[in-house]
C-alpha cells in the first residue's frame, strides 16, 4: 500500500485541544497522553496502512463505530462497553492486544481507562485530511470511455477503427507491421480459433479460390468468419473457454469427489448460449439469477434454472455433513464471480481487508450474505450418500405427485437435521468465545460435549439420506434456488465460529456499493440485484474483462495480460484506449460475442502473418504492440480432436445425455474409494468427463484447464513428456494406423497420398522435395519391413506419426 503523507497531526495541532480530568484529578490531554500510546502500540495494524477490523486510530469515527467484530473499540464514558480496554487488559493470550511484544503497562492501561471514563475526548479534525485513496483512482475502476480512433501516419494501412488504435501505438514506437498472412494460413488460424478443429482440404481449396476471386480476400474472409460462427463446433470451442474460466467439472471436488450426473446440462447450456449468441449481459444474469427471472414456459424456466449451474458448480469440501464447510463453497463462489466476471480477487477479503485493492471485509460479507441466502444443491458426501436440494425440471404438479407420499417424512427428518446443526453452530461459537479463558480440562470438556452433539447431527443426516434414497428419481438440474434471506455476519479472521458485525447485503463499495433494497432483502437473496450490478454497462469492469478475454484467446495475450486480475497488482493495459473502444462497441452491439469476433477477426491486425521482423524484435520481442500474429501451440483439446477428426473417427454429435454414472441408490463413495469412473467416447474433448480430484495425465501434460480454479489462459509449455506422447502413446499410434488405412484404401497413388496427408494435417500442398522426402521415408520403412504383408500400412502409419510431430502441425502461424 502507498504511504500517504501524514497531514493529520499538523491539522490537529492548530485546533483547540480538549482536556479532561482523570479520576485522580489530573487532567488528560488526548494529544499528550493518549495519542502517543495508540500510535506506538496500535497504529501499525489499526492505522493508515492497515485498518484491521475496520479500526483506524488515525481516524476518529472508526474508533467509535461498530468494528468488524460487532463490538466498539471505544464507547465514550462507558468503560465496560469499550472493547479496547477489554482487549488490552485481558489475560487471554489469544485475545490480548497488541498481539506481539509486551502488553501495555498498567499505567498506560489506567490512563486509557480514565480517558474513556471521562468521555473519551478527542479533538475534532478537519475533513481536509481525507486523501484520495490511490487505489480508487486505478484505471480499471474508472468509467469506460468511448475514445475516437486516433490518427495514423499511413492511412492506407488500417481496415477499420481497431487497426488505428494498434497502428498508432506501433507507429509511435517506430515499428513496421508484418505482411498480411496468406489465405492458407488464415483459414487454418481462423478455423482452429473459432471451432478448435482444422479446416478440411475442400474448405481450404474453396477459400483459396474465393480469396483469388474478384471480390477478393476481404469478402472471402468475412464470409468464412460468418460460416465458422454458424457451426455447432463454434459453441463447443468457445463454450470450452468459458468452462475454463468457471472451472467446470462433472464432480463436486469434496474428498470423495462425488459425481454430478446433471452437470452436463449446464455444460450444454453454455455451448448453446454461445451458439445462439445469447447477449453476454443476459448470459451472466441467467447464470447468477436465472431462477429469479420471469419465464413464460416450462422450457424457458428450465433453461434459466440450468444456467444457475454456474453457482452450483462451486467447489465442495470435506466429508462430514455436520461440519460441512459451506463458507468455503461460498468463498469459492465469490472468488470465481470476482475473477471470471470482473477480473477482481475478492476472496482475500474473507479474512482481512484486501491488501492491494480497495475491497474490504465488509464488501466481502456484503456479497457473502447474498450467497448465504441462496440454497445450493447438495451433491452428496461421504457421510450423506445422496443428492439433496436439486431443482426439479418437471411441472410443480408432477413433482408433487412423486414426492407427496414421502413429503411428511422428508420434512420431519430435514427439520430434525437442521435443528441439530443449528444447535452445533451455536455451541461451537460459544465455545470459541469461551475457549481462550478456559483451562485445558474445561476445554476438553467443552469439545467432548460438542463432539457428542455433532455425532448426533451426523446420525440425523444418515437417517435423512437413507430416506431420500428411497424417493424415485425425477429429472433435476444441479442448480440453485433462493434460501432463507438474511444478512451475513463477518467471520472474524475468516473463522465462521467467530461471528462479528452484521453486514447488509450489498455490492462492492468501489463499484458503487449499491444495497439490496429492504423490501427485496426480506423476500429474496438479492442475487438478481447482484446480477444486474455486475451485468451492467455502468460497471467499469464487466465489459472490459470479457472483451479482453476474447482478445486474449485470439491473440494469445490480453490487452491486459493478467486477464483475471484488473486490480492494482494486475498488469496495465497495453492499449487502454482500444480496450475501452472495444468494450463500448461490445455494449452497443447488444453485448454480442459473435459481433465481437467479427470486429476483431476482420481487422487487419488479426490477419497479419507471424513473420518476424528483425528490427522489431529488438524493441518488442514479445509482440506487445501486435506488429505480427503471435504463433501459438495447439491446446490439449485441439490436438486430440484433430487426431480423431483426420482419422475419420471423431463423433461430431453432442453428449446430450448424462454419463452412465450408477444410480444414487448404489453410491458408496468415500475418501478411501472416491468416484473415479470415466466414460470415454469419441466425441469432442469438451464432452469428455472432467473430474476435480483425478485429472487425466494427458491434460496435465498438455497444460489443460485446472477444474478447481479459474484458468485464465492455457500454458504453452514444451516438455520432453509431450514429445514422448507423440512418439509412443497408443492413442497417436492408433489414429495414425486408421489414417494410413484410409489413405491406402481411398487413393492409389503414393504422391496423391502425400498430398492428401499434407492437406489434412498442414492445410497446404507439399513442395516437390518434401514429397520426395516423404516417399523416401515410406520406401525405407517398407524395405525394413520386407515381406511383412502389413509393410505398406506400417509405412504410411509411420509417416503420419512423423507429420503430427512436426512443429508446423502443432503450431498455428
Amino acid at each position: 500500500m502507498m504511504i500517504r503523507p501524514c497531514v493529520r497531526t499538523t491539522v490537529a495541532s492548530v485546533l483547540a485541544f480538549l482536556a479532561a480530568e482523570s479520576a485522580a484529578g489530573e487532567s488528560i490531554e488526548f494529544e499528550r497522553d493518549i495519542q502517543p500510546i495508540l500510535r506506538a502500540h496500535c497504529a501499525d495494524c489499526h492505522g493508515e496502512g492497515e485498518q484491521n477490523g475496520s479500526i483506524n486510530f488515525a481516524d476518529r469515527p472508526s474508533v467509535f463505530a461498530e468494528a468488524d467484530s460487532g463490538e466498539r473499540a471505544v464507547v465514550a464514558g462507558d468503560v465496560g462497553a469499550s472493547n479496547l480496554l477489554a482487549r488490552i487488559s485481558t489475560d487471554d493470550q489469544s485475545l490480548r492486544m497488541p498481539p506481539d511484544g509486551d502488553p501495555l503497562t498498567d499505567e498506560q492501561i489506567e490512563r486509557l481507562r480514565d480517558w474513556v471514563a471521562a468521555g473519551a475526548p478527542w479533538p475534532e479534525m478537519r475533513e481536509a485530511a481525507v486523501d484520495q485513496q490511490p487505489e480508487q483512482g486505478h484505471w480499471a475502476f474508472q468509467p469506460i470511455t468511448d475514445p475516437a480512433p486516433p490518427a495514423v501516419r499511413d492511412e492506407t494501412w488500417p481496415r477499420g477503427a481497431l487497426d488505428r488504435f494498434i497502428q498508432s501505438q506501433r507507429e509511435n514506437a517506430g515499428l513496421s507491421p508484418a505482411p498480411d498472412a496468406d489465405p492458407v494460413t488464415l483459414i487454418r488460424r481462423a478455423t482452429y480459433g473459432l471451432t478448435g478443429l482444422p479446416p478440411t482440404p475442400t474448405e481450404v481449396q474453396e477459400f483459396v479460390a474465393a480469396a483469388d476471386s474478384p471480390q477478393g480476400i476481404e469478402k472471402a474472409f468475412a464470409d468464412l468468419v460468418d460460416r465458422l460462427l454458424s457451426r455447432a463446433s463454434y459453441g463447443e470451442r468457445w463454450g470450452r473457454h468459458w468452462m475454463d474460466w468457471v472451472r467446470y467439472a462433472d464432480t463436486a471436488g469434496d474428498n470423495s469427489d462425488f459425481p454430478i450426473p446433471q452437470a452436463y446440462r449446464y455444460r450444454n447450456y453454455i455451448i448453446d448460449a454461445f451458439n445462439e449468441d445469447l447477449p453476454y449481459d443476459r448470459f451472466l444474469t441467467e447464470q447468477l439469477a436465472g431462477d429469479l427471472l420471469p419465464a413464460d414456459t416450462l422450457d424457458q424456466r428450465n433453461r434459466q434454472t440450468i444456467a444457475t449451474g454456474y453457482l452450483a458448480m462451486a467447489r465442495r469440501f470435506g466429508s462430514l455433513v455436520e461440519r460441512y464447510p459451506w463458507h468455503l463453497t461460498i468463498e469459492d463462489t465469490i472468488d470465481n464471480v470476482g475473477r471470471t466476471m470482473m477480473g477482481l480477487t475478492i476472496s482475500c477479503a474473507r479474512c482481512h481487508d484486501h491488501k492491494f485493492d480497495p475491497i474490504s471485509t465488509r464488501d466481502y460479507y456484503g456479497m457473502y450474505g447474498i450467497f448465504a441466502s441462496t440454497r445450493y444443491p447438495f451433491p452428496g458426501i461421504e457421510l450423506f450418500q445422496t443428492q439433496r436440494d436439486l431443482v426439479p425440471l418437471i411441472s410443480d404438479d408432477e413433482v408433487a405427485e412423486v414426492l407427496e407420499p414421502y413429503r411428511e417424512e422428508t420434512e420431519k427428518l430435514s427439520a430434525e437435521l437442521d435443528r441439530l446443526l443449528n444447535a452445533c453452530d451455536k455451541r461451537a461459537a460459544e465455545i470459541a468465545a469461551a475457549e481462550g479463558a478456559a483451562s485445558i480440562a474445561e476445554r476438553r470438556k467443552m469439545r467432548d460435549e460438542l463432539d457428542a452433539m455433532l455425532l448426533k447431527a451426523r446420525g440425523a443426516g444418515t437417517a435423512l439420506a437413507n430416506h431420500l434414497k428411497e424417493i424415485p428419481p425425477i429429472p433435476t438440474a444441479y442448480a440453485v434456488q433462493d434460501g432463507k434471506p438474511h444478512d451475513a455476519r463477518i467471520h472474524i479472521k475468516g473463522e465462521p465460529v467467530r461471528p462479528g458485525a452484521e453486514v447488509p447485503r450489498r455490492f462492492l463499495d468501489v463499484l458503487g456499493g449499491q444495497r439490496v433494497p429492504d423490501e427485496v432483502a426480506q423476500s429474496s437473496s438479492g442475487r438478481l440485484q447482484l446480477a444486474r450490478w455486475i451485468a451492467s454497462a455502468e460497471n467499469p469492469l464487466t465489459a472490459r474483462v470479457i472483451v479482453n478475454r476474447v482478445w486474449q484467446r485470439h491473440f494469445g495475450e490480453g490487452i491486459v495480460a493478467s486477464s483475471s486480475d484488473f486490480g492494482t497488482r494486475g498488469q496495465q493495459p497495453s492499449h487502454p484506449q482500444l480496450l475501452d473502444w472495444l468494450a463500448t462497441q461490445f455494449i452497443e452491439s447488444g453485448w454480442s460475442i459473435k459481433q465481437l469476433h467479427r470486429l476483431i477477426m476482420n481487422s487487419r491486425t488479426y490477419r497479419l502473418s507471424s513473420h518476424e521482423i528483425d528490427e522489431n524484435l529488438a524493441s518488442d520481442p514479445d509482440n506487445r504492440l501486435y506488429w505480427k500474429f503471435s504463433r501459438r501451440r495447439l491446446d490439449a483439446e485441439e490436438i486430440r480432436d484433430t487426431l480423431l477428426m483426420v482419422s475419420g473417427e471423431l463423433d461430431f454429435t453432442p453428449q446430450a445425455k448424462p454419463y452412465p454414472i450408477p444410480p444414487q441408490t448404489e453410491w458408496t463413495y468415500t475418501q478411501h474409494h472416491p468416484f473415479k469412473d470415466d466414460y470415454p467416447n469419441n466425441k469432442r474433448s469438451v464432452y469428455q468427463m472432467t473430474k476435480r480430484l483425478t485429472v487425466k495425465p494427458y491434460l496435465q501434460t498438455f497444460d489443460g484447464a485446472d477444474p478447481n480454479v479459474c484458468t485464465s489462459d492455457r500454458g504453452q509449455s514444451v516438455t520432453p513428456l509431450q514429445a514422448l506422447y507423440f512418439v509412443n502413446d497408443p492413442f497417436v499410434h492408433e489414429r495414425a494406423d486408421q489414417l494410413a488405412t484410409m489413405l491406402l484404401r481411398e487413393l492409389d497413388d503414393d504422391q496423391q497420398r502425400v498430398e492428401r496427408l499434407f492437406a489434412m494435417l498442414l492445410a497446404r500442398e507439399p513442395v516437390p522435395d518434401e514429397t520426395s522426402l516423404m516417399l523416401e521415408h515410406v520406401e525405407a520403412v517398407r524395405k525394413r519391413r520386407g515381406e511383412d504383408v502389413r509393410a505398406a500400412q506400417q509405412a504410411w502409419s509411420s509417416l503420419v506419426r512423423s507429420i503430427v510431430r512436426l512443429n508446423e502441425f502443432i503450431y498455428i502461424d
Binding site: T345, F356, G567, D703, L724
Partner: protein
C-alpha cells in the same frame, strides 16, 4: 517498456525444468524478468536433493516414533479406553531415541535421524491434511512441495523429470498432491508405477517398434527447415530439442528403474530378498529406485507407500500397523544406510511424513481415530541434526507440550536447507505472489546441525 510475454518466461522455465540449461545460465536469462524468476540458491546450501516418503492414512505416533507406555490405560484395566503403544519399544543405543518394536530397522539408524514429535496437522481429515502436508493448503489447490523445489532449483539430469513420484496407488487428494497447479506444467510430479511401464510412453507400442530412428530423422530435418524460416522463435527450437531429450529418456529411464543389476548385498539391504504382500509390498523397490534417481541427479523424489485404501488408517485394528511396518521398515532403513555408505546422505534430505497422528483412546475393537493435535515426522541427512528429538507431547500423546511445529514450519526449514528463503521463493499468480508457506512458516533452527 512493454511487459514481456509470460510465454517466453514459461518457455525458458520449461527448458529449465527439462534441464537443458544449467541453473546459473537460467538465472542470467531470467534476471530481467523478476519477480517470477526462479532463483539460484540464496546461499550455498547443505542439501541439494530430497526424498520425501509419504505414509498414507495417518500413522499412529503413539505406536511408532513417540511411544507411550500406558499399555492398558491409566488404571491398568483398559476400561477407560486409553491405550498406549501396543507393540513395546526400545531405545537406540547410541542416541537414545525411543522407537516402537514394529520399526526395529529404523530404530537401528535413529542416530542418523531427527524426529519431530510435536507436529500439528492442518486438518482432521485425510484429503485435506494430505494436501496440507504436500502443498501447505488443506483446502484450495496449490502447487506441491516438489513442484516448488523444481521451480526454484531446476534439476541436474537432462534426461529425467525433475520431480518424480513413485506411487503404486493414488493417495487421498488424488493427482492434486503432486500437481504443479499454477506453476508451469514442467514442474508437475511425473508419476511412476512399479512394474514394466514405470513412466508412460517410454516404449513404442506394438509393431511400430524399430522405426523410431527413421522417424526422428525425418521429423528433425523437417522441423529444422521450418525453424530456419522462423529463426527467432525459441519455442520451436525448444520443441526440436525436446525430441532429442525424449529420445534419450527412452534409453536412460528404463535403466534407472531396472534394479536387477544391483549387487545382492544392496538388494538385501532394501529387503528385496524378502517375500512381502499387501499394501506397501513394493516399497523396497521404491526406496532403491529413489536412491538411483537421486544418484542420477533428480531433484525431488516422492515415495508414496500406499493408496487411499488399505493404508495406515487403522480405525478398527492396530495390527494393520504392524503388517505395514514390516513392509516399509527395512527398505526405509536400508535407504538411509545405503545413502550414508555412498556419501550421499550429507546432501540428500530424507523426509518421512504422514497426514496426522492417531488418538490415544481406543476406537472400535482395537483401533484409533484421527488425531490432529500432535503427531510425529522425521528427517535424515541434508544438515538435519542426527540422533535428535524435537518437541514433546503429554504423557498420553494427546497434546503437544513443547515446541509445536506447523506444516509451514517444516516446509520453510526444508527450503532453507536447500538454500532457499521460503519468503523469497514466490510465483506471481492471480494478482499476488504465492509461496509454499503462504504467509506463515518459521525455520526450526533447533533441528539443524
Amino acid at each position: 517498456m512493454p511487459n514481456p510475454l509470460p510465454n517466453r518466461r514459461a518457455l525458458i522455465r520449461s527448458l529449465f525444468g527439462g534441464s537443458l540449461l544449467m541453473p546459473g545460465l537460467l538465472s542470467e536469462l531470467l534476471a530481467s524478468d523478476n519477480p517470477v524468476a526462479p532463483r539460484s540458491p540464496h546461499w550455498k546450501p547443505p542439501a541439494k536433493s530430497v526424498i520425501f516418503i509419504y505414509a498414507t492414512g495417518g500413522v499412529s505416533h503413539i505406536d511408532t516414533f513417540d511411544p507411550k507406555p500406558t499399555g492398558k490405560g491409566r488404571d491398568g484395566t483398559g476400561n477407560d479406553k486409553l491405550m498406549g503403544n501396543l507393540f513395546g519399544s526400545q531405545r537406540n543405543k547410541k542416541c537414545g531415541t525411543e522407537v516402537s518394536n514394529i520399526f526395529p530397522h529404523l530404530r537401528g539408524v535413529m542416530d542418523d535421524i531427527c524426529v519431530i514429535r510435536s507436529m500439528q496437522a492442518s486438518h482432521f481429515d485425510h484429503s485435506e491434511a494430505t494436501l496440507g502436508m504436500h502443498t501447505g493448503s488443506p483446502t484450495f489447490a496449490r502447487p506441491s512441495m516438489g513442484s516448488w523445489i523444481s521451480y526454484g532449483l531446476g534439476t541436474f539430469n537432462q534426461n529425467l523429470p525433475s520431480f518424480i513420484v513413485i506411487a503404486p496407488h493414488l493417495p487421498y487428494g488424488g493427482t492434486q498432491v503432486y500437481a504443479s497447479d499454477f506453476l508451469p506444467a514442467v514442474h508437475q510430479g511425473t508419476r511412476v508405477l512399479p512394474g514394466d511401464d514405470p513412466i508412460a510412453n517410454l516404449r513404442p507400442p506394438g509393431i511400430s517398434d524399430g522405426l523410431q530412428d527413421l522417424e526422428f530423422d525425418l521429423v528433425d530435418s523437417l522441423n529444422r527447415r521450418h525453424h530456419e524460416a522462423r529463426p527467432h522463435d525459441t519455442a520451436l527450437a525448444a520443441r526440436i530439442k525436446s525430441y532429442e531429450t525424449a529420445f534419450q529418456m527412452q534409453q536412460a529411464a528404463p535403466e534407472v528403474f531396472d534394479t536387477s543389476a544391483e549387487p545382492e548385498h544392496v538388494r538385501r539391504l532394501y529387503g528385496l530378498d524378502r517375500k512381502t504382500k499387501g499394501a506397501g509390498a513394493d516399497f523396497g523397490w521404491q526406496c532403491l529406485v529413489a536412491r538411483r534417481l537421486v544418484e542420477r541427479g533428480v531433484r525431488f523424489v516422492e515415495l508414496i507407500d500406499t493408496g487411499s485404501r488399505p493404508n495406515w488408517d487403522s480405525h478398527g485394528e492396530m495390527q494393520e500397523h504392524a503388517d505395514l511396518a514390516y513392509n516399509v521398515d527395512q527398505p526405509t532403513a536400508g535407504l538411509i544406510t545405503d545413502l550414508k555408505q555412498r556419501g550421499m546422505l550429507d546432501d540428500t534430505i530424507v523426509l518421512w511424513a504422514t497426514e496426522f497422528g492417531r488418538t490415544p483412546t481406543r476406537e472400535g475393537k482395537n483401533g484409533r481415530g484421527h488425531h490432529r493435535d500432535c503427531f510425529s515426522v522425521w528427517v535424515a541427512g541434508g544438515g538435519f541434526k542426527p540422533g535428535h528429538v524435537h518437541g514433546a507431547t503429554d504423557e498420553i500423546g494427546k497434546y503437544t507440550v513443547e515446541d509445536p511445529v506447523e506444516v509451514h514450519d517444516l516446509h520453510a526449514t526444508l527450503l532453507h536447507q536447500l538454500g532457499m528463503d521460503h519468503e523469497r521463493l514466490t510465483f506471481r499468480h492471480a494478482g499476488r505472489d504465492f509461496r509454499l508457506t503462504d504467509v506463515h512458516g518459521r525455520i526450526i533452527h533447533d533441528i539443524l546441525s
